[in-house]
């Protein structure tokens, strides 16, 4: 069973490095209990060859992706995993219900759902890292469409290559948002050898919103 990271929940709720009071903490527990009861975690992973022969272009499987951010992330990679993960529709329903009575509860539900899907991603990411290590690869931090200059159009490729709809029940809206909302797609670049070890898997410094984001992990900004 996946369990959400509490400090992440605090961060999503806007507590910058501080802990909430008792009432909010109790509400977070309540929301975790309700969310845990309805989630149906599911994930799918595929592995593909990577070619980075040209600046700012990354070829993964049959796709050529033009992106400076992804190129920076994957420059040294020759393989990549693509994964999709979701905790299912239940969390969305809980958020909608909470919104009717209390925006506080809705925000906490939202944060808890996000923390759950992130926890699921960490687990999937760890499986990928292990598989990669068995084959002599190390992994780069995971990288999602919509992050940096990586286009959201790639969601269609995730859908195609991972059968997201059939296998996981993740569908895309016309504007390429995923439903259920608590779903994530990401690339994990794989390179030969040991090299750099990345502890923070989602460095804020790489993000377009760096310095303007209220969710930043950079507490002293």
């Amino acid at each position: 069973m996946i369990s959400p990271d509490r400090t992440e929940i605090y961060r999503y709720l806007g507590y910058r490095g501080l802990s909430p009071d008792y009432a909010v903490d109790a509400l977070i527990d309540d929301c975790i209990g309700k969310t845990e009861a309805v989630i149906r975690p599911a994930s799918a992973v595929g592995y593909f060859d990577v070619v980075t022969a040209y600046e700012d272009a990354v070829q993964i499987g049959d796709m050529v992706i033009h992106s400076h951010s992804l190129y920076r992330n994957m420059r040294s990679c020759t393989r990549a995993a693509m994964f999709a993960a979701t905790i299912g529709h239940g969390a969305d329903m809980l958020i909608r219900r909470a919104e009717l009575g209390s925006m506080l509860k809705a925000s906490v539900m939202q944060a808890v759902g996000a923390a759950y899907v992130e926890a699921l991603c960490d687990e999937v990411n760890e499986d990928i890292r292990r598989t990669a290590a068995e084959q002599g690869y190390s992994c780069k931090p995971r990288f999602s469409p919509g992050y940096g200059d990586l286009p959201l159009d790639l969601q269609r490729d995730f859908e195609r290559l991972l059968s997201m709809r059939q296998r996981l029940g993740i569908t895309l809206t016309d504007s390429l948002l995923m439903v259920p909302s608590k779903s994530v797609t990401a690339f994990v670049g794989m390179y030969r050898g040991e090299g750099e070890v990345c502890t923070d898997i989602r460095p804020c410094s790489d993000c377009d919103m760096h310095g303007r984001c209220s969710y930043s992990k950079d507490v002293d900004r």
Binding site: L100, M103, V108, L177
Partner: protein, 806 residues
Amino acid sequence: MKNLKEKLGSQWLICDGGTGTFLQERGLGGGELPETWNLLHPEIVEELNREYFEAGADIVNTNTFGANRLKLGDSLEETVTAAVEIARKARHEAGRDDDGYVALDIGPTGKLLEPMGDLSFDRAVEIFAEIVRIGTDAGADLVLIETMSDGYESKAALLAAKENCSLPVIVTNVYDSNGRLLTGGTVETTVAMLEGLGADAVGLNCGLGPLQMIPVVKRLVSCASVPVVVNPNAGLPQVRGGKTYFDVGPEEFAEYMAQIAAMGVQVCGGCCGTTPEHIRLLAQSIKAMPFAAQTPKDICMVTSYSQGVEIGNRTVIIGERINPTGKKRFKQALRENDIDYILNEGLRQEDQGAHILDVNVGLPEIDEPEMMEKVVKALQGVTTLPLQIDTTDTAALERAMRIYNGKPMINSVNGKQEVIDSVMPLVAKYGGVLVSLVLDEDGIPDNADDRIRIAKKIYEAADRYGIPRKDIVIDGLCMTISSDTSSAAVTLETLRRVRDELHGKTILGVSNISFGLPARELINANFLTMAMQNGLSCAIMNPGNEPMMQAFYSANALLNKDTQCIDFIERYQSYVPFAKLGEISADTGSAPSDKETKPERGGAVAEAVRRGMKEGAAEETKKALKTTPSLKIIDNELIPALDDVGKGFEKGTVFLPQLLMSADAAKAAFEVIKASMQGSEQQIKAKVILATVKGDIHDIGKNIVKVMMENYGYQVIDLGKDVPPEVIVDTAIKEDIKLVGLSALMTTTVVSMEETIKLLREKKPDCKVAVGGAVMTQEYADAIGADFYGKDAMATVRYADSLFGG
């Protein structure tokens, strides 16, 4: 050729197997749509179809699984027509013209329906209708709707098929090993809905291999009344060397399928990974087995998209509170389009223990069909309880039944011929459990004999319209004993005789029995017990009425309907006997007060809001209203308290959760004030529009702004999420709005924001635009021409105040 409708369910029929593997072996690329091969390589598709006919399949699918307008655009007609022609030609080549059938294959659209996704139900029906019309014109013999993992989409496809052709329609869904659809429906709820809509056969395909399907098939055959179809994959998919393959070979598959057929299945075939060889062995072994037809099941089930409530065994509570009759505040909500208020009435009843929610939104001055559709859609987004659609307006009834995600309960029909002829055709078409009042052209009979006579007439009418008798629930009619003291006895006799003589089910609007009397809940609770003893199947009542709930749980325990009294004990283990109640309330006379915190500004209301105490704020407001005019409470308590918290938030000493807690508390206080000001003019600073722009479906940020704005005295027209620019502009013009707030979550939807602003500038130039959302920045806001960037809800409130004079 023998009529397929006659064969279906009276003899074995064999379906074909997989398509993808066959075509991939002949060169179909990974990203290629298999349907395009109907035009590019018709000879290969024909070979596929022919091999299945030759292998012994009686029903062969056209290569149209993914053929719809969303995927194929204008080549749809050509592609589907070719597919049907190819299959017909293959049948002829295989020498199966006399006993082979071409099934127009329909798969999912690939989009998720509203409210979870962004495809509207009506649009989904249109998409499927188009395929059905083309396929039927081209000469298909039946429609096979398959691999549906969403019950709602199955409904759209089935409805489209039923409305556009007269061919038999089979629907098979993808269940997981627990018998659930991806969107939550179970085998039982899905079958109830599909049978109600007139599916000629139901079943399951894909997702699982034959072995894993066995427990699901068991449930399927025990709840279905129509023939059952089972088309498994050739085992579970295995990935080896980057390729997917399935692990159950033809012989093993045929063995499993023989087991499955023997469980009471009528139609068998295969899905992913099965080949003509799988189907050949399957046909051989199954056709040698004795055939058994499906037996009709006496199950009366009302369903939501994920839950079923069975009627007939234990009494079911139907919450009656979504109804404007005699409720000023509810009427006001209907007039003001305040859907949230209505939804809250629903959620409260769910928490109080209702099993089904009655939905009545009839008010002379509103557009009832539109409101009914809106409320039913919204309720489906927040509750898993099934709904009872309660209206006398046939147009409203049809709109609701059409978009309902499940098998609804319908309230109601009666013995009047005119009403029978307007309501029953809808129930026959859409399916539903029908409440039937035992009154007719001569009014309400004052004796049970005549009520039973009318009940019989209603059952006969249902027979004529093809509505199963099990789906009729007789309303025995509750008339107040204050005007005729014999009326309860007549009602109870009616209930008993419907149960014992007609073997039917019954329902009552229980509280009517005490109209005009004092202490109504005493009569209601006791009458409920008596009605339950006389077989009452459904009680329409207020689940918030504790004496009635006590009667309900007690009667269940007494009537042996509560195994080991579990429910009763769970609910009442800390029950305080009546005699002791007085002592306890004397002990806790006054609420504890926190003496340390001295209010900064205002009194108890302000303090409750600052501390984010929702119930406290409402209570204190009620108290304050006894001595203080409502406007003074707003000006001297609520606004200063909100301001204190807001300023703290801006300074960074108060975090979002506290801000929201105070906002929720203030909202509760305002709700109390609103209820007290019924009828009198309410002061507002301005009317504003809030909307999440087109393409964006996440609207929590917008909703936070809404609560804040309302607390600060603005009337918010909330257009919701995924709102097209034209709707925003038209509303702004119609309501003469001077401030529009737009929210967008993703960079991709900021484009819609820009479009909306452009259109507003053109059509309503005096309207200001504030924007906000996760990816929004000041630079972005400037680039798309917004007047203001709100980095959070408080900032937006301040901006509005600067425009309208806070």
